[in-house]
C-alpha cells in the first residue's frame, strides 16, 4: 500500500461525479471500489472520507440519494447524478483538463534544453 497515492482534496468530488456518470446509480461502497479500480489500484481511498463528500455533493444538489437494494440483496443508499451534477461535472472536468495540460506543458518545457 505504501506506493499508493492519497486522494488529494477536491479531486474526490470530481471522481465521485465521474463515477456516477459512468455507472448511473450506485451506493457508497460501490463508488469507492469503482474509484480504486479506475485508478488501476494506484489510489488508496479511505472509505470513511467518502461519506462526508457524498453529503456535501448532495447538499449542493449535484447528486441525489435514495434507498434501494444492492446486487447482493442488501439494503443500501444509492446515489445518482442530477442535471445540475452533470453540468458541474462538465465544468470541473474541463477546468481539470486545462490545469493538467498547463502543468504537463510546463514540465515538458523545463526538460527541454533551451
Amino acid at each position: 500500500m505504501g506506493d499508493k497515492a492519497d486522494v488529494w482534496q477536491g479531486t474526490l468530488a470530481l471522481m465521485v461525479l465521474k463515477t456516477l456518470e459512468a455507472m448511473g446509480s450506485m451506493h457508497g461502497y460501490g463508488i469507492a471500489r469503482r474509484i480504486e479500480q479506475t485508478s488501476g489500484n494506484l489510489l488508496s481511498l479511505n472509505y470513511g472520507t467518502l461519506y462526508p463528500a457524498l453529503l456535501k455533493l448532495e447538499q449542493e444538489g449535484s447528486i441525489a440519494a435514495e434507498w434501494g437494494v444492492s446486487e447482493n440483496n442488501r439494503r443500501a443508499k444509492f446515489y445518482r447524478l442530477t442535471r445540475a451534477g452533470k453540468k458541474q461535472l462538465e465544468k470541473e472536468a474541463q477546468s481539470w483538463g486545462q490545469t493538467t495540460a498547463i502543468v504537463a506543458r510546463f514540465l515538458a518545457s523545463s526538460e527541454d534544453p533551451v
Binding site: 457508497g28 461502497y29 479511505n46 470513511g48 462526508p52 453529503l55 444492492s70 442488501r74
Partner: protein, 891 residues
C-alpha cells in the same frame, strides 16, 4: 445560490439529528457488510474480513464525526450547546441569575431612560442648518439677564462686525395677535427681520421667505404661518398661498408655511411670523430714542469660535457703552453664547448632574455583575478544570464564558428597556415645564445599544478571565491556593461601590435638604383658599389703556359679587415668581436728596396693584397704611414700600409721607409718588432666588396707570378668596370672563399650584437623584453582601479549624465583621473625599444649604456604615454558627 442552499440545508440539519444519525448508521452498516461479503469471497476468514473492512473505512466513529460536522453548522451547534448549557447553569443558581439580571436591569434601565432625556437637552441637533455656528449676541444687565440689543446701536454692530457671516434679529417682545376671521383665536406673532430664516438656515415648506421690500415701513402686509396653524385652521390646503387672512381685523397675505419642526431660537410659540418692517432711521428713534429692543442672533464665520467673536465685538461694545447713561453704564456687559446655551439656560447643569448620577449607578451595577461573575467563576474552577481535562480547549471554555455574559446582558437589556420605558413616563410626569423638548423624548435605540454593549463588555471581561487562566495542577482535587487575586479585585470593587454610593447619597441628601428648605420657607403671604386667574388681552382689541382698564374693572366688579367671594384684587403680576417688572435701585430719586449712583445695579421689584392686594394675599402692613378705595380716583400717585426697600432708602426714619420719583431718568416730568405705608417682605425673586426690595404702585382708575404695552402690559392677574371649592370657582370665573369676551383664554390656578409649579425643578432634581442614589445604595449593599458571603463560604474550613481550636462565636463574628468593616471604612473615606470634591458642582442648585453641609455628610456616612454593617451581619452570623465537625469533614 448554491452556497445559500447549502447553508439552509445545514441549518435545517441542526434539527432531526437523530433521524440522520440512524440513516448514517444504516448506510455504514450496509457498506461494511458489502465489504465483508467481498472479502469473504476472496477467501479471508470472517475475522480478517471484518477487520480489513473496518480498517479501510478508517474508523466508524471518525467517519460519523466528519459526517456530522458536514451535515450541520458545527460552530452554530456549539453555540446552541453553549446556550443550553448556560441556561441550565443559570437555572441551577437562580439567586445568582436573578441578582445579575436585576442589577443589569437597574443599570441599563436607569441609564437608558436618563440618557434619552439628557440626549435631547445636551446633544440634540437643533433644527437649523449648521446650528453649531449660530450664536445669540447682545448686552446683559441686572434687570435683563438674557442678551438683548436696542435699535440705537444694533445697526452699528450689524454693519461694523467682523466675526459673523450675518446677523439677524427678532423683536424682543413677542406680541399676541388675534385671528379675526371664522374660528377666531389668539395667536403668538413674532416680528422678525427679512433675513431671519436664511440666517437660521430654514426655508419654508410652502411658498417663500420675506422679500426685502416687504420688510420696510408701509410695505405690503404679508406673513408666514406655522405648520400647526396651517393644519388646524386651513386643513393643510396648499391654496393658502397668496390668500389673505384677517389678523387683528386687517387683511394679511400668506406668502409661506414654516416647516413642521420649526422653532423660534428662543423656543417661544410662533403661529404667525411678520416682517419687522422697520427702517433704520425710524427704529433708532423709537422707544424714547433708545431704539426698539431686539433679540439678536448671528451666524459665525467658519472657524471662528464664540470666544473669538466675543473678543472681536469688544470695540463695538465699548463704543456703545459711551452712549449708555453714566449712572448705569457699568451694569451692562457684552454676552455672546451658542444658541444651544441660550436655549438651555441652567437646565444644562441639571442634565450633567443627572448624567453623572446614572453613570455612577451604571458603574456600581457593572462592578456588581463583575463581582458576581468572578465569585461564580471561583466556585466553578473545579468544573472548568474537569472540562479542560476532558479535552475542552481554552477557546471552547472562553466561548462558553462569553455565551453566558451575552445571555445575561441580553436578559438584563430586555428587562432594562422595559424599566426605562416606565421610568421615562415617570420623568415626564415629574418634569418641570421649563425643560425644553421633554415632550418629544423617546427611548433611543443607540443608547440602549450603548448600555447593553457596556454591560456585555464588563460581563465578558470578568467572565473570560477565569476561563483563560492556565489550568493549574491540583485544581481537579480542589486544592489550590484559593482565588486570592480575584478576592482582592472583588474587594476593591466593593470599596469603589461604597465610595460611589457615598457620592450619590451625599448629592441626593443635599438636594433633599435644599428642596425641604424651598418647600418650607416663609413666603410672606397666605397661599391657602386663594385662586388666581391670569388674563392676557389681545393687543388689537385692547390697544387703548382705557379699554384694558375698563375690562379688568368690569371683571373685578362681576367677580366681587360671586358666591362666597370675600376679596378680589387685580395686579399686573404675582409673587413669588421672578421675571418681570423692576428697576435699578440707583434710579429711585427721593425728594430733597441729590441723585446718586449708589448701588446702581441692584434690582428693585415694581408691581401695579389694586387696594385689595395686601388683603387678598394677607401681606401685613407694618407701618402707615395700605391703599384706600378713595385714592383710586385721586390725581396724586401713591406707593407702598416693602420693609426691605424702606430700610434701604430711609434707614432709621419713618418713610410714610416721603415722596419718590421712579422715572426721572427717562422723563424729566415723571410723577412723584407719596409713600403711604410699608408692607412686610414677600418672597419675590422666585422660590430659590434672593428676596429683593419691592414697591407697590397703586393702579388708579386712570388710563395712564394702564399704559404698559407688550405681553406684560396686556396681562393682569386676579387674586380671589372664596369659601367655594376651587373647581367650582374656576368654572364660574371662566363664565364671567367669557361673558365679557368669549375669545379670551384664562389661566386659572390656585396660588398653591402656582407656587408648587415653581418648585418643579428642584423637585425633579431631588426625586431623580434620590431615586438613583437609592438604587446605587441597594446595588452597593448587594455587592458588599455578596463579597462577604463569598469570603465566609470560602473560609468555612478555616473557621471550622479555628473553632475546633477553641475560638468562640464572638471571635468568629468579630473576624468576619472586622474584614467587612475594613472595606466599609476604606469605601467611606474614599467616598467622603470624592463627595467633597463633587458636591461643589451642585452648589448652584442648592438653596439654604451649603455644598459641604456637615450634617448631610455626617448623616450619609452614618447611614452608609449602618446599612453596610447590616449587610455583612447575615453572612457573619452564618460563619459564627459553623459546626466545626461539618466544616472539617467537608475537607
Amino acid at each position: 445560490m448554491k452556497g445559500l442552499r447549502v447553508l439552509m440545508l445545514r441549518l435545517a440539519g441542526l434539527f432531526g439529528g437523530a433521524q440522520r444519525e440512524r440513516e448514517l448508521t444504516e448506510e455504514l452498516d450496509s457498506h461494511l457488510q458489502m465489504h465483508i461479503d467481498d472479502n469473504l469471497r476472496v477467501g479471508m476468514t470472517p475475522e480478517e474480513a471484518r477487520r480489513e473492512a473496518l480498517l479501510r473505512l478508517g474508523g466508524v466513529e471518525q467517519t460519523r464525526q466528519a459526517y456530522r460536522e458536514r451535515s450541520t453548522l458545527p460552530l452554530f451547534e456549539i453555540l446552541v450547546q453553549d446556550v443550553r448549557y448556560s441556561l441550565r447553569g443559570f437555572a441551577r443558581s437562580p439567586i445568582f441569575t436573578i441578582t445579575a439580571i436585576v442589577t443589569l436591569m437597574l443599570g441599563i434601565g436607569a441609564t437608558t431612560a436618563v440618557f434619552s432625556v439628557v440626549d435631547r437637552i445636551l446633544f440634540r441637533a437643533l433644527p437649523y442648518a449648521h446650528a453649531d455656528r449660530l450664536v445669540s449676541v447682545g448686552l446683559v444687565q441686572s434687570l435683563e439677564t438674557q442678551e438683548f440689543m436696542l435699535g440705537g446701536f444694533y445697526y452699528d454692530w450689524r454693519n461694523g462686525q467682523k466675526p459673523f457671516e450675518a446677523m439677524t434679529s427678532e423683536n424682543a417682545v413677542t406680541g399676541v395677535c388675534d385671528l379675526t376671521e371664522r374660528n377666531p383665536a389668539q395667536l403668538s406673532c413674532p416680528l422678525v427681520e427679512a433675513n431671519f430664516l436664511p440666517v437660521l438656515g430654514i426655508s419654508p415648506v410652502l411658498g417663500r421667505n420675506f422679500l426685502p421690500e416687504e420688510d420696510r415701513p408701509g410695505g405690503p402686509k404679508v406673513a408666514l404661518i406655522s405648520y400647526g396653524l396651517w393644519l388646524s385652521h386651513y386643513d393643510r390646503d396648499p391654496g393658502i398661498l397668496n390668500k389673505t387672512i384677517d389678523i387683528d381685523g386687517q387683511p394679511v397675505r400668506v406668502i409661506g408655511v414654516l416647516p413642521k419642526d420649526f422653532e423660534m431660537p428662543r423656543l417661544q410659540a410662533a403661529d404667525v411670523l411678520f416682517p419687522m418692517a422697520a427702517d433704520e432711521a425710524t427704529d433708532r428713534k423709537s422707544n424714547s430714542g433708545l431704539g426698539g429692543p431686539k433679540r439678536v442672533f448671528a451666524r459665525l464665520k467658519p472657524g471662528v469660535s464664540v470666544e473669538q467673536a466675543h473678543a472681536e465685538l469688544e470695540p463695538l461694545f465699548e463704543r456703545t457703552q459711551k452712549w449708555i447713561p453714566a449712572e448705569i453704564r457699568s451694569n451692562f456687559k457684552l454676552k455672546v453664547r451658542s444658541l444651544r446655551d441660550r436655549q438651555m439656560q441652567d437646565v444644562h447643569l441639571t442634565a450633567w448632574v443627572l448624567l453623572g448620577t446614572v453613570f455612577a449607578v451604571l458603574l456600581i451595577a457593572c462592578a456588581n455583575v463583575a463581582s458576581l461573575l468572578m465569585a461564580r467563576a471561583a466556585v466553578r474552577r473545579r468544573e472548568l478544570a474537569v472540562r479542560s481535562a476532558l479535552g475542552a480547549s481554552r477557546a471552547r471554555l472562553a466561548c462558553q464564558a462569553l455565551t453566558e455574559a451575552v445571555l445575561l446582558s441580553l436578559a438584563g437589556a430586555v428587562a432594562g428597556c422595559v424599566l426605562a420605558e416606565g421610568l421615562l413616563h415617570v420623568f415626564l410626569a415629574l418634569a418641570p415645564a421649563g425643560i425644553p423638548y421633554l415632550d418629544k423624548v423617546h427611548l433611543d435605540l443607540r443608547i440602549v445599544g450603548f448600555t447593553v454593549a457596556l454591560s456585555f463588555v464588563c460581563g465578558a471581561l470578568f467572565g473570560l478571565a477565569p476561563a483563560l487562566e492556565r489550568p493549574r495542577e491540583g485544581m481537579l482535587t480542589g486544592r489550590f491556593p484559593g482565588s486570592i487575586s480575584h478576592g482582592t479585585v472583588r474587594q476593591w470593587l466593593v470599596v469603589g461601590q461604597i465610595a460611589a454610593s457615598m457620592v450619590l447619597l451625599t448629592g441626593a441628601l443635599l438636594l433633599l435638604r435644599s428642596f425641604w428648605n424651598v418647600q418650607n420657607q416663609q413666603l410672606g403671604m397666605r397661599e391657602d383658599n386663594t385662586l388666581t386667574a391670569s388674563v392676557t388681552l389681545g393687543e388689537h382689541n385692547y390697544a387703548a389703556p382705557e379699554s384694558k382698564m375698563v375690562f379688568f374693572q368690569q371683571l373685578a366688579t362681576r367677580l366681587r359679587f360671586g358666591p362666597g367671594v370675600s376679596v378680589v384684587s387685580v395686579s399686573d403680576s404675582l409673587p413669588p415668581a421672578d421675571g418681570h417688572g423692576g428697576m435699578r435701585y440707583g434710579e429711585i430719586l427721593v425728594a430733597g436728596r441729590p441723585r446718586s449712583a449708589e448701588g446702581a445695579g441692584a434690582v428693585v421689584k415694581e408691581r401695579w396693584v389694586s387696594p385689595e392686594y395686601f388683603r387678598a394675599l394677607d401681606i401685613p402692613i407694618v407701618r402707615g397704611e395700605g391703599f384706600r378705595e378713595e385714592e383710586l380716583g385721586s390725581s396724586d400717585h401713591f406707593v407702598v414700600l416693602s420693609e426691605q426697600l424702606a430700610g434701604l432708602l430711609f434707614p432709621g426714619q419713618d418713610p410714610v409721607g416721603k415722596r419718590l420719583n421712579f422715572d426721572h431718568v427717562s422723563f424729566s416730568d415723571a410723577p412723584w409718588y407719596t409713600v403711604t405705608g410699608v408692607a412686610a417682605n414677600v418672597k419675590n425673586g422666585g422660590l430659590t432666588g434672593e428676596e429683593e426690595p419691592e414697591f407697590y404702585k397703586l393702579r388708579r382708575d386712570r388710563a395712564e396707570d394702564w399704559a404698559g404695552n407688550g405681553r406684560w402690559g396686556q396681562t393682569s392677574v386676579i387674586v380671589l378668596r372664596s369659601s367655594l371649592a376651587p373647581a367650582e370657582m374656576s368654572r364660574w370665573i371662566r363664565s364671567q370672563v367669557a361673558a365679557l369676551d368669549p375669545t379670551l383664554p384664562v389661566d386659572i390656578a390656585t396660588l398653591q399650584q402656582r407656587v408648587s409649579k415653581l418648585a418643579d425643578q428642584p423637585r425633579f432634581q431631588t426625586t431623580l437623584v434620590g431615586f438613583f442614589a437609592a438604587i446605587g445604595l441597594v446595588l452597593a449593599v448587594i455587592g458588599l453582601y455578596g463579597v462577604i458571603a463569598f469570603l465566609v463560604a470560602q473560609r468555612t474550613q478555616e473557621i471550622g479549624v479555628r473553632m475546633a481550636l477553641g475560638a468562640a462565636r464572638g471571635d468568629i463574628l468579630r473576624l468576619v465583621m472586622g474584614r467587612s468593616l475594613r472595606l466599609i471604612v476604606c469605601g467611606t473615606v474614599a467616598g467622603l473625599a470624592a463627595a467633597l470634591a463633587v458636591s461643589r458642582v451642585l452648589s448652584s442648585l442648592l438653596f439654604g444649604v451649603g455644598s459641604h453641609d456637615p450634617v448631610t455628610f455626617a448623616l450619609v456616612t452614618l447611614l452608609l456604615i449602618v446599612v453596610a454593617l447590616l449587610a455583612t451581619l447575615v453572612p457573619a452570623r452564618r460563619a459564627a454558627s459553623v459546626n466545626p465537625m461539618e466544616a472539617l469533614r467537608a475537607e
